[in-house]
Amino acid sequence: MDIGLLVTYLLRDALWLMTPLFYAAIGEFIVEKAGVLNLGIEGMMLISAFVAFAIGFLFENPYIALLIGCLAGILVNSLFYILFQLIGVDQSLAGLSITIFGSGVTFFAFRAMIGYSTSASPPVVKNIISDLPLPILSRLPILGFILFDQNPFVYFSFLLLFLFYVAEKSDIGLKIRTIGEDPSIADFIGIDVYKFRLICVIVQGFLSGVAGSMLTISIYNTFLDNITAGLGFIAITMVILGGWNPIRIFYSSFLFGLIYALQFRVQMYGASWLPYQFALSLPYIVTIILLAVFGRKYRPPTSLGKPYKRIR
């Protein structure tokens, strides 16, 4: 394969494979701006991935599956909100509980769905959301193929970049940032911390619902145990590496998209001396290295992960 073509394919695949990561990371970015550290994103993505898979399998309509998958994400995230904000569980603890809950529930539900004695081939979603070339733009020489001959999810992820303006320039962004820096001050100047955090958490539930559903109804067409494989935690890493800024989160997600794309290529044309497990563990190794090197470059929101409770 000639190098130019390979690079083109790699870039296209990178943009495609980074999307679930980017959606999840943007969701996490929004809640972290409001001072909430959600470690439950992994479990949430798993649950929406499973729900989208189940609905897509039963009704054979990927759009309904996507919708219900997002609803599941919002529902699980509301549970997270109840745990950490209304009951007052430590945020890390609540998030980890949600993650363990998600993996337990999907492990059971998947087996309950496919039955005790599984057939040789796992169930497959027949209709998936596939590529949608944009009419005129996709005819552009190389860029058209990389940017505009893509999955619909990819186009929407370009749109998410406008969140930069919401975060930095708008009134709502300022209020959310204030909550993230110091909730009691925010409360003092009349910002409803509970309401804004609820909104952020619901938006995150929606976005990570999209990310999880995309795994089962667009990238793969089936469900596996622990299909997210740490993607939620890598998304949290993206927020740290991207320094709580959507544009930089896009860059770092793109880097991981490249790693995933490379990994696919290595598995396809892999050298026999290189075990495929090395390619598979590459994202995790890179995550640790990047966290060690760039983990402290940007300052997190001051009250990130700290409990806040208004006692009336």
Binding site: L39, I82, L83, I87, G88, V89, D90, S92, L93, A94, L96, S97, I98, I100, F101, G102, S103, G104, V105, F107, F108, A109, F110, R111, A112, G115, Y116, S117, P183, S184, D187, A229, G230, F233, I236, T237, I240, P275, Q277, F278, L280, S281, Y284, I285, T287, I288, L291, A292, G295, R296, Y308, K309, R310, I311
Partner: protein, 357 residues
């Protein structure tokens, strides 16, 4: 407390025990309800569960064996959670312990058992410890969130295991990805030849709980860990060596998880295969939290959850239920425990007026 009588739910010890029991009750109720929903005879299902869990000598032995693995992991996690260090990597440390002890006992096949067994256990401990070292160093030197690094280390360990059993360590005579059997003198000595429970598992299960309790509640080290757990800033002001404490809490927890992995190989499986990875690391987290981060609580919770796991697997086999009931049950334990405990704590501190604390 500001004024008023101290209610029963305001005493922390009672509150914790109450939360544990309530969560377990709710979990078991859900279990029985799910038996009912599956349309099987509830009473006979419970009978099967009892026989699978503790009803026969064999099931008692199996339950204690499983409990010893889970308890070792959760004793370690108790120490790191007490120091408020969230070690999610018990799973990976367990795998590395299993890998290291298998490799050692396969390499030195000719050593006598009384040298090989301690050597394999120690190398398992060392492997788990080393696997926890990197997240610890990253946490204190670069303040990288330990949840992220320990979790990533789990996945890396899993791929190392998968590579070893399909590559260098694979048994040439086997069709499955698994290593050859370890030499028979490396098997942990059984108490009764018929049942798999061995001396070392039983001793560690029972003797470590008071030891960990004494370490946490009676020693200087334990007190420092508790101070660190309540507030890192206070620990710094008190002049404690915070870096050393954080790393040592992670290392102890890694070492015990590694030991659990070594025991899984030397006492239960006798060979390395992907099937040893059954989410014990995460079950350990559930046990530690439901056991109130107290060694005796962990001991009870691990025996209870191990017996439930064994019993449920019997029920699932007999009645053709989907496996995975234990996983969902554990998550229900965890969620209900966490919410009940913090709800009670909230109710008990409601009358103190702290604004924005």
């Amino acid at each position: 407390m500001i004024g008023g009588k101290i209610m029963w739910y305001e005493k922390k010890g009672i509150l914790n025990v109450f939360a544990s029991f309530l969560s377990i009750t709710i979990g078991v109720a859900v279990l029985i309800f799910s038996f009912y929903m599956c349309g099987i005879n509830v009473m006979s299902a419970i009978q099967t569960l009892y026989f699978g869990a503790i009803g026969t000598y064999n099931s008692i032995s199996e339950t204690l064996l499983l409990a010893s693995i889970l308890a070792l992991i959760s004793y370690g996690l108790t120490i790191s959670f007490t120091a408020n260090v969230w070690n999610i990597g018990a799973e990976g440390q367990y795998m590395m312990g299993a890998i290291a002890s298998t490799v050692l006992s396969l390499t030195f096949k000719n050593l006598p058992g009384y040298i090989l067994i301690p050597l394999s256990l120690v190398i398992g401990i060392l492997a788990g410890l080393l696997w926890a070292l990197l997240p610890g160093v990253l946490l204190v030197k670069y303040s990288v969130n330990e949840v992220l690094t320990t979790l990533m280390m789990n996945y890396i360990a899993q791929y190392i295991l998968s590579w070893l059993v399909t590559g260098p360590l694979q048994d040439r005579t086997s069709l499955f990805p698994e290593s050859p059997y370890i030499p028979s003198q490396a098997h942990l000595p059984r108490i009764i030849a018929l049942y798999r429970i061995n001396y070392i598992s039983l001793i560690l299960l029972i003797a470590l709980a008071p030891l960990i309790y004494i370490i946490i509640s009676k020693t200087y080290f334990g007190m420092s860990l508790r101070i660190l757990g309540s507030s890192r800033r206070v620990a710094k002001y008190a002049g404690l060596n915070v870096e050393k404490l954080i790393i040592s809490s992670l290392l102890i927890s890694g070492a015990l998880s590694g030991l659990a992995g070594a025991i899984e190989i030397l006492g239960i499986q006798y060979r390395l295969r992907p099937g040893i990875v059954q989410g014990y690391g995460y079950t350990g987290i559930v046990i530690t939290l439901v056991g109130n981060m107290h060694p005796y609580g962990c001991l009870l919770a691990s025996i209870f959850i191990a017996s439930l796991m064994n019993g449920i697997s019997q029920v699932c086999q007999l009645y053709q239920l989907p496996i995975g009931l234990t996983q969902i049950l554990q998550s229900i334990f965890l969620i209900t425990f966490v919410s009940v405990k913090f709800l009670l704590e909230y109710l008990s501190t409601k009358r103190i007026k702290i604004y924005g604390e």
